[in-house]
């Protein structure tokens, strides 16, 4: 018998989310979306509970989590940085901006800084191509970002 351990409040929260979607296997993506919104990421134990509630295999849930780049199994930073690398942002220099964030924070894409403050991820198009290149920190949108401006943006949060 293998044990999956999780705090009671978390188990109950996941159960509630699954129940809101009728515990339907076809709602797995929506459920995971909500659960990640709740916890910030989707660790193995959380996926186990979701699989159990939706009556599907854990392998299936893990398949979904690893297929969609939106889902993550690593905890995000307090201020998650998302650099848009969609076509418009890319041609306007998103990669250089991304490199600057990586250099400044000394972490790779998908990682979180040791102090848990920042994490970097990439996304494809936020629908604000006119502002390219675009960076999101949390819910806040920064447009026409240049590598030189990266430090200033980070400082807004470093001292916060």
């Amino acid at each position: 018998m293998a044990k999956v351990k999780l705090a009671e409040s978390k188990i109950n929260k996941i159960k509630e989310i699954c129940a809101n979607f009728g515990n339907l296997p076809g709602e797995a993506i929506n459920v995971l979306h909500k659960v990640q919104g709740e916890f910030g990421y989707l660790p193995a134990e959380v996926q186990e509970v979701v699989a159990h509630e939706l009556n599907v295999s854990v392998a299936h849930i893990y398949g979904i989590v690893t297929f969609y780049s939106f889902f993550t199994m690593l905890p995000k930073g307090e201020h998650p940085i998302s650099v848009c690398t969609g076509t418009a942002c890319y041609v306007r220099g998103a990669e250089k901006v991304l490199d600057e964030f990586k250099r400044e924070l000394k972490i790779a894409v998908g990682e979180t800084t040791a102090d848990g403050k920042f994490s970097i991820s990439c996304l494809r198009c936020v629908g604000a191509c006119g502002l390219a290149p675009v960076v999101l920190i949390g819910e806040k949108v920064y447009g026409r970002v240049t590598p030189d401006g990266v430090k200033d943006i980070l400082n807004e949060y470093r001292n916060a």
């Binding site: 018998m1 293998a2 186990e48 159990h52 392998a59 849930i61 398949g63 690893t66």
Partner: protein, 588 residues
């Protein structure tokens, strides 16, 4: 019906079928790779992903995958136009560019569908040289995952999830990183895998294969200090011939025994003997439970579930931990044989159990896992040392340069080689319960069976239900093959909706005859049907067809075991089950 033409041939075909099926029905062979079908059990995998089966449909801009495109009125299809031939070749070359070219030492060589395609399409070089995807090799006690060879056809995923509802495998990650793997990409041993091995049967390439134990067996035979004993499962004798060019369904029992003796086993015995023994134990257990139940004993659980199939045992330990007291406690025939050999027979020979090596030839991959279970060992020494598949036996026969066809038929050695027709039918779905019924009927009613054949228990439908009249007492029997079907019956039991007295479950299609250790059938269900018929032919040809009439079984009880379900049996022939499920618990 609608009108189409395939390769300029006008045809009338059923509406709604695929181009692939229409072509095959018309005798036009379109090559496939990811497509997999076992029509006898309604299993189909058609992700339309590999693009090998593309055909040209007049008026369409793009080539269409034949396996996933439905026919339409007036469709003009060209299966081998110049454009198709070129595209198909390019597709194959690209698949091969990310496939290791180690065919010389690949376990699937000679049975590989990718290798066959490369031959058929005449590929002599791979023009695309680029990065190859690599992945760690995962070796469990029964199954090896060598994902470098995976072509992402996802047949294994379909079999594991749809036919077996095991859910050990899923496609994970994306793009170049995509693989088929257990949850969190852990090893199979940490997944709910039952080791049924149907994924190996479905795999077109060498990405999934069984653990090969032939070298260890040869080493044991080479050691003069070891007495090496072999036992052969019922289903092996109706399939082994296929490896040597015989028609499926040819019975090769005598040649198999002769070959095993030539290889150098000291005693050539038969798992069928242990199958008869299983019936004595399991049949007695069934009758005891039914009698107590009818007498109103509330502690008795019905139905009783058969426990011969190791894939099935693994399945209920993982999925039905609340029902561990429902299955029969009788060990499987393989393990009963091992226990008798290493205790009774070793004693008779005057040798220590450590100096005896018991090898079994099984149609099964899960038997490799079963014989490695700790509860089947004494001071670390297993009752069965090595379980080889039918395919591994064929490999041994070839290695020893034995001309199978010219072999004189031979008999098994006595006493552990004698068996009845009831034992043989263990190899087919419904067989175990029919064998048990033959014996239980006579013990229960104290009358001779009017008819030995229980036609109502036979067949290849996934779930079967029958009622057998025990001289006025109706006995309700359920039968399932395939774990998805077993799940249906088990869920009925769990919710109290079941009125069965006994349920037989086999994990593989058709029972052991369709086991994952058998010669590859590549989705041709007629092969399983022919093996199925052969099992009952072998039974019909036996002089004795009821387990309790096997004189060597009677002698074994007289000489050693005393009585079925007695003290020695309890100790050596019965087992218990473990909760292997995952429990979600509150932290702290």
């Amino acid at each position: 019906m609608i009108n189409i033409t395939i390769d300029n041939k006008p045809l009338q075909v059923e509406k709604g079928i695929t181009i692939l099926k229409a072509a095959r029905a018309a005798g036009v062979e379109i090559p496939t790779l990811c497509y997999y079908e076992l029509d006898g059990i309604i299993l189909e995998n058609r992700p339309g992903g590999c693009r090998i089966c593309v055909v040209e449909v007049e008026g369409r801009r793009n080539l269409a995958p034949a396996c996933a495109t439905e026919v339409m009125e007036g469709m003009k299809i060209n299966t081998h136009s110049l454009r198709v031939v070129n595209a198909r070749r390019t597709v194959l070359e690209m698949i091969l560019s990310d496939h290791p070219a180690d065919c010389l030492i690949c376990p699937k060589s000679g049975n590989c569908e990718l290798q066959d395609l490369a031959q058929r399409l005449g590929v002599r070089e791979i023009p695309y040289q680029g990065e190859q995807s690599t992945y760690r090799k995962d070796t469990s006690r029964a199954i090896i995952r060598d994902i470098d060879k995976c072509v992402m056809c996802r047949r294994c995923e379909t079999v594991c999830n749809v036919w077996q509802t095991v859910g050990a495998l899923s496609a994970v990650n994306r793009g170049f990183e995509a693989v088929v793997a257990p949850a969190f990409e852990q090893d199979l041993e940490k997944s709910p895998c039952t080791y049924c091995g149907q994924c190996i049967m479905a795999c077109p390439v060498g990405a999934l294969s069984e653990v090969d134990n032939t070298r260890q067996v040869i080493t044991a035979i080479s050691n003069p200090k070891k007495t090496v004993i072999v036992q052969t499962a019922p289903a092996v004798r109706v399939a082994l011939g296929e490896e040597f060019g015989y028609e499926p369904g040819t019975i090769v029992t005598g040649k198999m025994a002769a070959a095993l003796r030539k290889i150098g086993f000291d005693y050539v015995f038969d798992t069928d003997f242990a199958a008869d023994l299983t019936i004595m134990e399991e049949g007695t257990e069934l009758l005891t439970r039914i009698s107590k139940f009818m007498a109103g004993d509330k502690n008795v659980k019905l139905p009783i579930l058969t426990s011969c199939c190791p894939g099935w045992v693994n399945f209920f330990e993982t999925n039905y931990p609340d029902m561990l007291d429902v299955p029969s406690t009788a060990k499987s025939p393989q393990q009963m044989f091992g226990a008798v050999a290493k205790n009774y027979w070793a004693d008779k020979l005057g040798i220590k159990r450590e100096d005896m090596v018991v090898v079994s030839i099984m149609p099964c991959v899960a038997k490799k896992f079963e014989c490695s279970r700790d509860e089947f060992k004494e001071n670390g020494n297993p009752d069965v040392d090595f379980a080889l598949t039918t395919r591994e036996l064929a490999e041994l026969i070839r290695q020893f340069n034995i001309d199978f066809e010219s072999l004189e038929e031979a008999d098994f050695d006595k006493p552990l080689g004698e068996s009845t027709g009831a034992a043989v039918i263990f190899g087919a779905t419904g067989g175990v319960i029919e064998a048990a019924t033959r014996t239980a009927y006579e013990i229960f009613t104290k009358k001779s069976l009017p008819k030995i054949d229980f036609e109502e228990l036979r067949g290849l439908e996934g779930v079967r239900k029958a009622t057998v009249d025990f001289d006025g007492t109706p006995i309700h029997i359920g039968i399932a093959h395939g774990l998805a079907n077993a799940r249906k019956l088990l869920d009925e039991v769990r919710t109290g909706k079941s009125n069965f007295h006994a349920i037989e479950v086999m994990a593989c299609p058709g029972g052991c005859i369709g086991g994952a250790g058998q010669p590859f059938h590549h989705g041709d269900f007629s092969i399983i049907e022919k093996r199925f018929a052969a099992i009952y032919r072998e039974d019909a040809g036996k002089a004795i067809r009821k387990s309790h009439e096997n004189p060597f079984i009677t002698a074994l009880y007289k000489d050693w075991l005393v009585e079925p379900c007695g003290e020695i049996s309890h100790h050596l022939l019965h087992t218990h089950y473990f909760d292997k499920s995952k429990h979600i618990e509150v932290e702290g």
